[in-house]
């Protein structure tokens, strides 16, 4: 690991803004272009950027593998859970109208959680892909198959 001062300092400066931008894309998804997919990828990109500059091991310290795998599952569960919530509240699957007294609020609430689930899973999947490909040589050792 070389000490590229400019890269390291710039990364430290940029990463908070990348995460900030991701949350803007995430939460503004109701009103403009954006949403969970894009936000998830931007968050993942921030971590991948960190990993590229500071090395894979330090990225894995920030976001451990176990957490990434758990996030993949949790995101899907959140998404599907919104559907089940619709069922339990007396509507059809993924029925947002019943999630609140006011159907329009219900739509907001439904889409908010669904997009949250999407963002969690997408960011985790992107990170997982990066970890797996980048760590292949290190992890594998002589494992192969």
């Amino acid at each position: 690991m070389r000490l590229d001062v400019i890269l390291r300092v710039l990364a430290k400066l940029l990463i908070p803004f990348a995460v900030m931008f991701a949350s803007y894309v995430q939460f503004h998804g109701d009103f403009g272009p954006g949403g969970g997919f894009q936000a998830g990828v931007i968050i993942a990109a921030a971590v991948i950027f960190y990993g590229l500059i500071y090395g894979l091991p330090s990225a894995r310290e920030v976001v451990p593998d176990v957490l990434v795998e758990a996030m993949i599952a949790i995101g899907v569960l959140v998404y599907a859970g919104v559907g089940i919530a619709g069922l339990l509240l007396g509507g059809n699957y993924l029925d947002y109208f019943v999630l609140d007294h006011d159907p329009v609020h219900g739509q907001h609430r439904g889409i908010f959680w669904v997009e949250a689930g999407v963002a969690i899973t997408v960011s985790a999947v992107m990170l997982k892909i990066f970890y797996v490909f980048a760590g292949r040589r290190r992890d594998a050792g002589g494992e192969g198959s």
Binding site: A70, I72, A73, I74, L77, A80, I84, L87, Y93, S145
Partner: protein, 493 residues
């Protein structure tokens, strides 16, 4: 209250099980969740089938958006029956996985294996139930991606290449399908299958419809492994873990066949598909080729798993032959064979999995004297083989009988002869196993291998028993197949 949500629950239960399994990470709990989920799907599929048969079409609007706008799940006797088959096979295969997988997949990948099985199950059920053409593509890809991973988990390094090849072929097939529905969407402005079925006839028969029909047929045929497009199948079945071979052989191609039938009979309609052009003749020719050529190839295989895989390609020929007759009788035969072949081939792959567990390989030579060292397994395998041939008293006979009667009702006597003749080829490849297993001495150096463990043997035997059961009493399966055929041909009224 719950009963009205059955269509969506059937898809969501395995879909929810997958992330839960990933969170659990341990081998045993994940197996338990997967098994419970597959039992739950069967418990959902049965009442759904009963309702679909008695009430006709059940429509379920996802998110409460009314059908042509939102995604709709549309269930009738046909897809409810195939969904029942898929979940039934799931219930047979999942208990088997516990022991079967432990010897074939690395321990730290077990939870991923079960998660992939659940995703595959969920995808297959989704393909069946959805009433939206694009949603069908998404589920097709969910199940396919899970399948590629499952195949790559095989022990042999050739499993990787097999998986890669299937990935290429499968993706091309799915993409061709997307092109087809894209053309339909451009013409009609709808992706809802029931809506398409109404709007397409009103368009007349423009060239775009023909192009869409061609793309969809070829795309789905790749997934079916219809004869000249079957090249991915033998390797994929031969090198994947035994439980996966059994599950795929019994379900994946069957679901695609359902999709083809749905498009041919419900959406495009018989007039566009069969009367206006030579689809029937082409399909008939390909089916005949499938019945003979892969069966001959199967005879020369030195590996039993590959032999069974080629036999699958050949058996698919019987099903498409039923479709190509485009009569209710032919469709009944196709659906019945879909069910019977799923039981037979799934059971045989499971039995074979037990044998491989003991012998460490599936080469035919290793099975010398198997009739003495593993009498129950070899007997069960032979029963399955008899069903492949179509000996009376087994499930395979029932569907061949339907097929022959349907062909005769059309006045195609020579087809009946062709079915008999290709059954003779099946006799040869089953006989090769019988000869090696019963008429050869066990190799001297080998330790006397006993039967496979009960947890492997019982699910396999259960499937073979079911295969005999539905051979002796075909009234239920026959009625269901007929109801399914009528639902397919009758359209979604």
């Amino acid at each position: 209250m719950l009963s009205q949500h059955l269509p969506i629950l059937l898809v969501v239960v395995p879909l929810l099980a997958a992330p839960i399994i990933v969170l659990l990470r341990r081998s045993f709990p994940s197996w338990l969740v997967a098994t419970l989920a597959s039992i739950a799907t069967l418990a959902i599929a049965l009442p759904l089938l009963a309702r679909a048969v008695s009430e006709g079409v059940i429509s379920y609007a996802i998110g409460n958006w009314p059908p042509p706008l939102g995604i709709e799940y549309r269930v009738d006797a046909a897809n409810a029956f195939v969904a029942f088959i898929v979940s039934l096979i799931g219930v047979f295969v999942m208990p088997y996985c516990r022991r079967g997988v432990s010897s074939e997949v690395r321990a730290e990948e077990h939870y991923l294996f079960y998660a992939m099985m659940m995703l595959c199950l969920s995808g297959l059920l989704g393909i069946l139930l959805t009433g939206d053409a694009f949603n069908l593509f998404v589920f097709l890809e969910i199940s396919s991606l899970a399948t590629y991973v499952l195949i790559a988990m095989g022990r042999d390094r050739r499993a990787l290449v097999a998986s890669y090849q299937y990935l290429l072929m499968g993706t091309i097939g799915a993409t061709l399908y997307v092109i087809g529905i894209g053309l339909l969407y451009l013409q009609t402005g709808t992706l809802n299958l029931a809506d398409l079925a109404v709007r397409l006839p009103a368009m007349g028969d423009p060239r775009a419809t023909l192009a869409a029909l061609a793309f969809i047929t070829v795309g789905i045929s790749l997934k079916i492994a219809l004869f000249p497009l079957h090249l991915w199948l033998p390797n994929a079945y031969a090198y994947s873990p035994s439980a996966v071979s059994a599950f795929l052989a019994a379900t994946a191609t069957k679901v695609s066949i359902y999709v083809l039938m749905r498009y041919f009979f419900t959406i495009f309609g018989e007039t566009v598909v069969f009367d206006a052009r030579y689809t029937g003749v082409i399909l008939l020719a390909l089916s005949l080729a499938a019945m003979f050529i892969p069966a001959v190839v199967a005879i020369f295989q030195t590996d039993v798993k590959r032999l069974l895989a080629y036999s699958s390609v050949s058996q698919i020929g019987y099903i498409t032959l039923g479709i190509s007759l485009h009569s209710v009788g032919g469709l009944t035969a196709a659906v019945a064979h879909l069910f019977n072949h799923a039981l037979t081939k799934g059971g045989m792959f499971l039995v074979l999995g037990g044998v491989v567990f003991r012998l460490g390989g599936s080469a035919l030579d290793r099975m010398a004297g198997l009739g003495r060292t593993m009498p129950i397994a070899s007997f069960a395998f032979v029963i399955g083989g008899l069903s492949l041939i179509g000996i009376p008293g087994t499930a395979g006979f029932v569907s061949k009988w339907y097929l022959v009667t349907a062909a005769m009702a059309e006045g195609q006597w020579w087809l009946a002869g062709a079915v008999m003749l290709s059954s003779l080829l099946a006799v040869i490849y089953v006989w090769r196993f019988v000869e090696v297993a019963y008429f050869r001495e066990p190799p001297a150096g080998h330790p006397p291998a006993g039967e496979a463990p009960l947890s492997l043997l019982l699910p396999a035997l259960a499937m073979i028993v079911a295969c005999v059961w539905f051979g002796l009493d075909a009234s239920w399966s026959g009625n269901m197949a007929r109801a399914a055929a009528e639902a397919l041909a009758g359209g979604w009224k």
